[in-house]
Amino acid sequence: MDLLWTISTTLLLCSLLSILWKEFDRRRNRSCYLLDFVCYKPSDDRKLSSELCSDIIVRNKRLSVPDYKFLLKVVVNSGISEETYGPRSIIEGREECPTHDDCVDEVDDCMYRTLDELFLRTGISPIDVDVLVVNVSMFAPSPSLTSRIVNRYRMREDVKNFSLVGMGCSASPIAIDLVNNIFETRKRTLAVVVTSESIAPNWYCGTDKSMMLGNCLFRSGGCSFMLTNDPSLKHRAKMNLKCLVRAHIGANDDAYGCAIQKEDDEGRVGFHLSKSLPKAAVRAFAENLQRLAPKVLPMGELALYVLRGFRHRLWRSKEAKTDAATAARVNFKSGVDHFCLHTGGAAVIDAVGRALGLTNYDMEPARMTLHRWGNTSASSLWYVLGYMEAKKRLRRKDRVLMLSFGAGFKCNSCLWEVLRDLNDGGAWDDCIRAYPPQTLDNPFIEKFGWVKEA
């Protein structure tokens, strides 16, 4: 009965091969490729110079002279240039009473411009999009922003759309996490993510100092990017997602309340940033790094870290060391080549850079992004990435770490691997040659020099 023996061994081999194929296929599906990303560049009539900022601040008649000085000091020392953009309604004087159309137009301009360019550059038609995610933290009209996009681009009926709202400056990795999870359940899926922030409806018109910082630092910006898990598009992809870590310390009351939208004593809604924000940021950061380090660092570095930890415990000094300081001993640069840091402010970038042991060269993209674009909230990571690409820093097999903080309090990070040498100018195309500039100081520091005496 050789025939029977042959049949049974063939069947056995077939089932073994099918299991192996299934496993291989599942791993293939796990990929999340970044096909392309487009950062938003508003029109030049929306530029916010320091002079214009000062005019806008002075329009608020409720503020006293010390308040003006405080705000101008923030603007001048923020590390933000004269080239950043603001919403039209604020520039035109309607900051205290923006209409619904103002808010919608602000977001529409960002979404449609970036999406038009994204579809043009990738050559992919909107009808092929399977998943659509929009995250704009502080504006959620009905129908949702995703419905606006589905309507404008006539997308399919079965497109899976999600509108993430309220997730703060750290929403980009959250959107990527959502898409990545969906990718693991479906094959050959194409996803488009739009990330932006809405400033027009959120201008603070009161006198509470903790709520006025947002007015000075947030600027208009946004980004649309396309992700896919289709292996046939790998050759066109820019980067591949390696891992993603989300840490949420909202269980701690101080952390939850340190960046919160609420009413001031006079009933005006503003975004309150408390003094305990840096502490919450450090805790969230440490939480995130603890889980990120094993996924990102090479074995050698991890072993060294463990050994250092043992030594530290055995020969403990009298002073207690914080987790962030311990993190400084870990050399993240052994596993990561480029760092996309959230441009929350000059102090944030410096603090994170110090904690990770980064040089000025490493922090340059984030500092330059803060200078050129301001704090564009969740999309800032993409402007930083755009800088690196325009400066031709991103080479094949390089690893890029995106790190951001958000209200809640969250710290999210994701690691990408570059798939090919990248050299698109993107939104930086017309100004990259001027970077880095000689000085980051505000050119009006002489004019507003009196704030230094304040």
């Binding site: 089932s15 619904h100 502080m138 129908p143 899976k160 309220g166 997730m167 959250i174 949420h248 919160i260």
Partner: protein
């Protein structure tokens, strides 16, 4: 409307039995085929006797290797089959918010407040007419901030309402299921018209001290069908993360959305929307399968946003005086019907029995090839589902769906009674309706439930659940104190 291809038989009673026989034949085709085959094999075995059977076995000359190989083949085939199946998603339990009686808004209170707030006599009368025909009862509830004259839609009051409805629902769910907040792996919150920063999901993480690696998502602006979108997202996440559970919160916060103007198309939400919230625990753990109430079978999402008419039919905008509100277009019912048709086209083949699909297919072929005048066959969804939960968006929506799907009064009773007792609670209404069916003792093991939600965009989403254990009454929930009074007869017009 005649349903059979040959209209002259449609009135015959005998046709009913022909249809039943046809359904039995087609749906159990494989079984019917197998019976004569099994019988023949058995008779043959009996005829052959044990010695002949042993002789046949020996003649195969199977040795140990071949037996082992065949054995391994069977084991491997079974493993491949089991691992390739999608992970089942179980609904362990759910809890709905029961509004306190202090928040009740009887008709008289509503009209009195409206007269005091609004200066325009015409819009007051218009709202009265809506209320008369709305199908709402006298026990629906509005949040405390809306009881002020005029309402005080502050952010603090909105957060307070959110805390009241969401935390009550979660506390209830924790009590029912013994869930420990530290065990929650996934959190999805949907609330369409209130989206503070930090999000409502962060608020829940803060209150219940959830873990730092919880995967949380906050969906907003997605309308009244967002509850099913959250369930869809939770399901996708549960496919990827083994041995996890997901907490889904569906709610609508009424406080910030009071419309203070006089444009008619924007006054309806004031009259219909009421307080509500639901907390749902989903899981893919094997041990939860034993105590779970339902298993999720399908979720189908349809988005008609590509069509401008559908996109504009529920639209937030400012009126001429600058008051922000949600405008509902007159085409809403027609668009809902079309969206439902699209959704049915996808869900039909997944849930309808073979007999209905075959009839539909044959009628389609017949219309194309033989005679285009044949009436299109509308599949009978009552064969696929025992219970229907239609979003209690308003009386007209329920009427329209009852007509389209040819449902009886009992099928839509849950929706009508939920609208009467709780009003339009937006995305959580489907869960109040499910609770009604359970409270009435109608939910048996093996029953299939179809939840249909509509929302701005225009979306039509549906979910299919299968009941895993008979739900015994009395059921702990928002209906526990009033289920005996229901169903009530809701008149066409309640004279105010």
């Amino acid at each position: 409307m005649p349903r059979a291809p040959l209209p002259e038989f449609s009135s015959s009673v005998k046709l009913k039995y022909v249809k039943l026989g046809y359904q039995y034949l087609v749906n159990n085709f494989v079984t019917l085929l197998l019976i004569p085959v099994m019988a023949a094999v058995y008779l043959e075995l009996v005829r052959m006797g044990p010695e002949e059977i042993m002789g046949l076995w020996r003649s195969l000359r199977l040795d140990l290797i071949q037996i082992l190989c065949s054995f391994f083949v069977i084991i491997f085939a079974a493993t491949v089959y089991l691992t390739s199946r999608p992970q089942p998603v179980y609904l362990v339990d759910y809890a709905c918010f029961k509004p306190p009686t202090t928040c009740r808004v009887p008709f008289s209170t509503f009209m009195e407040h409206t007269r005091l707030i609004s200066s325009d006599e015409k819009s007051v009368r218009f709202q009265m007419r809506i209320l008369e025909r709305s199908g709402l009862g006298e026990e629906t509830c509005l949040p405390p901030a809306n009881h002020y004259i005029p309402p005080r839609p502050t952010m603090e009051a909105s957060r307070a309402e959110a805390q009241l409805v969401i935390f009550s629902a979660i506390d209830d769910l924790v009590r029912k299921t013994g869930l420990r907040p530290k065990d929650i792996d996934i959190l999805v919150v949907n609330c369409s018209l209130f989206s503070p920063t930090p999000s409502l999901s962060a608020m829940i993480i803060n209150k219940y001290k959830l873990r730092s690696n919880v995967r949380s998502f906050n969906l907003s602006g997605m309308g009244c069908s967002a509850g099913l979108i959250s369930v869809d997202l939770a399901r996708d996440l549960l496919q990827v993360h083994r041995s996890s559970n997901a907490l889904v919160i569906s709610t609508e916060i009424i406080t910030p959305n009071f419309y203070a103007g006089n444009q008619r198309s924007m006054l309806l939400p004031n009259c219909l929307f009421r307080m509500g919230a639901a907390a749902i625990l989903l899981s893919n753990r094997r041990r939860d399968a034993r105590r779970a109430k339902y298993r999720l079978v399908h979720v189908v999402r349809t988005h008609k946003g590509a069509d401008d008419r559908a996109y504009r039919c529920v639209y937030q905008e400012e009126d001429a005086e600058g008051h922000s509100g949600i405008s509902l277009s007159k085409d809403l019912m027609a668009i809902a019907g079309e969206a439902l048709k699209s959704n049915i086209t996808t869900i039909g083949p997944l849930v309808l029995p073979m007999s209905e699909q075959l009839l539909f297919f044959l009628t389609l072929v017949g219309r194309k090839l033989i005679n285009p005048k044949w009436k299109p066959y509308i599949p009978d969804f009552k064969l696929a589902f025992e219970h229907f939960c239609i979003h209690a968006g308003g009386r007209a929506v329920i009427d329209e769906l009852q007509k389209n799907l040819e449902l009886s009064a009992e099928h839509v009773e849950a929706s009508r009674m939920t609208l009467h007792r709780f009003g339009n609670t937006s995305s959580s209404s489907l869960w109040y309706e499910l609770n009604y069916i359970e409270s009435k003792g109608r939910m048996r093991r093996g029953d299939r439930v179809w939840q249909i939600g509509f929302g701005s965009g225009f979306k039509c989403n549906s979910a299919v659940w299968k009941c895993l254990r008979t739900v015994k009454t009395p059921v702990d929930g928002p209906w526990s104190d009033c289920i005996d009074r229901y169903p009530v007869d809701i008149p066409e017009v309640v004279k105010l």
